[in-house]
Every structure is written in structure tokens, then in C-alpha cells.
Amino acid sequence: MSMHSPIPPVIEAPRSAPGRPRRSRTNTELYAWLFMRISGVILVVLVLGHLFIMNILDGGVQRINWAFVAGRWASPFWQVWDLLMLWLAMIHGTNGLRTIINDYTRKDGTRVALKGLLYTATTITIALGTLVIFTFDPTLN
């Protein structure tokens, strides 16, 4: 027994706002769509693990201080964990916000300005976070 409808569904093309180019010669949007799913699965493990360790396990946020971070980042395992989490979460979130800007902005100028702000903030944040993980000195105390 088949549950499928005999009529193929007709779905309007999404994001077809008037006056915007709908066709592209590249597959950028396909790769962005795929990246969201692949990075999403990895982030489920990295972020939920991070939240469990930092907020719930063994006293949660109350036990976190500089020495706690120093102890964790003395291990390359947690350095790689945090580095991967930083890059994937930032790119995943930036692409999500890019989609939202594309959906809700009505003027080209607004869209360009918001995306410019977004990409600038993302670049600075990824660079800062990476620098901190790589140049952190656990013996500073």
C-alpha cells in the first residue's frame, strides 16, 4: 500500500523575490545548503558536549575560572575541539544570518550593508578566537 499522493506536488520556488536574479551559474547555494547539514551534525556533538561539560557536569559554571581554562587548553584535544567548534559554529551561524538577511531585506543597499557588517564581525571573531587558542599561555598565572 502506497501512502504517496498520485498527483506530484506543485511547490512555488522559494526566495523568488521580484527584481532579484534567480539564476546563477555556480552551485554556491547548494554547497551552502550541504555545509549547514554536515557542520550541523558535527556541531550537535561539539556544542552539546561543550554545554554539558561547562554548565551541568561537576558543579557547572560555578567551577569555571582562569585555572580551569588553563587546565583544559593544556591538552591539544580540547584545543582542537574548541578550534573546530569556533570555526564551524561561526561559519554555520554566518550562513544562517546571510539567509535571513536575504529573506527580509527589501533594498539592495540594506542587504549589502548588513552582509558587510556580518562578514566583518565574523572575520574579526574567528581571527580573535583562533589567535587566543593558539597563543594562550597556561603558565601566565
Partner: protein, 149 residues
């Protein structure tokens, strides 16, 4: 030019008409669970992303001095901020579980048909995880407010 060209074959069979249904095709993201989970996914995503900027900045203080880092991290231990952390964990957990549901809708052949059941499944998982999660996250704040610590 002759006008007695063969006429187009008369349409004897009417085009198939969809069976009258209250629910038109292609409504996965229109109304009810499909739409509201999409709205919640956007809101929780934006919320998490904006917190991420602040969180990278506060963590960057480990590079400045142990004192400055500890001072800012103490903010997170305040009972009111602690409540907002529970909210953030709830938002991230919903976004994670619903993200897995979206992947199932996109890649699993039965996904679109079971999307509603999958939403109520993840909502149940969310409640089952959040009840003990919120308890352990707020335990210290509770003891602080009601004086046993």
C-alpha cells in the same frame, strides 16, 4: 493554404483533477508544526549566534590576565544570568534536535511524511533533557538564594 489541416485531437479525457483535499500539496512549511518549528529554528539560531560573539570576546580575556577573565566569568555565576544560561541551553538544544529533524526530512525518504511525529518526538526529548539539565544548572543559584550556602 488549405484550411482543412488535421484538427488537433479533441480532448476526450479531462485532465486529472486532484481529489478534493483540505490540505494542498507542498505544505510542509505552511502552517502548523512545519511552519512554527521553522520560525523557532530561526529565532533560536539568531539568539545563539549573537551570544557566540559575546562568548568569544569574554573567553579572549584569558589572553589578557587571569584577573580580568575571572571577573567577567563571575557574571555567569549570578543567579539571574544563570536563568538566561538555562534559556540559552534550551534554545541550543532545540536548534540541535530540530536540525537533526530537518536533515531527516531532507535525506530520509519517509522524512517529509513523518515530520510532524518527528517534531513531537524532539519536543519530548527536549523536555526529558531540560528538566534534569535545568535542575543541575540552577542548583547552586537556588542554594544561594534560599540560604543553604
Amino acid at each position: 493554404m488549405s484550411t482543412d489541416a488535421p484538427a488537433a485531437p479533441a480532448q476526450t479525457t479531462p485532465p486529472p483533477v486532484a481529489k478534493k483535499s483540505r490540505k494542498p500539496a507542498g505544505t510542509l512549511y505552511r502552517g502548523r508544526e512545519g511552519m512554527w518549528s521553522w520560525v523557532a529554528h530561526r529565532i533560536t539560531g539568531v539568539l545563539t549566534f549573537f551570544f557566540l560573539f559575546a562568548h568569544v570576546l569574554d573567553t579572549a580575556l584569558v589572553r589578557v590576565s587571569p584577573e580580568s577573565y575571572d571577573k567577567v566569568i563571575d557574571t555567569y555565576k549570578n543567579p539571574f544570568v544563570n536563568l538566561m544560561e538555562i534559556g540559552l541551553v534550551g534554545a541550543v538544544l532545540f536548534h540541535a534536535l530540530n536540525g537533526l529533524r530537518i536533515i531527516a526530512i531532507d535525506f530520509w525518504s519517509k522524512g517529509p511524511r513523518l515530520q510532524r511525529q518527528m517534531l513531537w518526538t524532539i519536543v519530548t526529548v527536549w523536555v526529558v533533557v531540560m528538566v534534569p539539565g535545568a535542575f543541575f544548572m540552577f542548583k547552586h543559584s537556588f542554594e544561594l538564594i534560599f540560604g543553604s550556602k
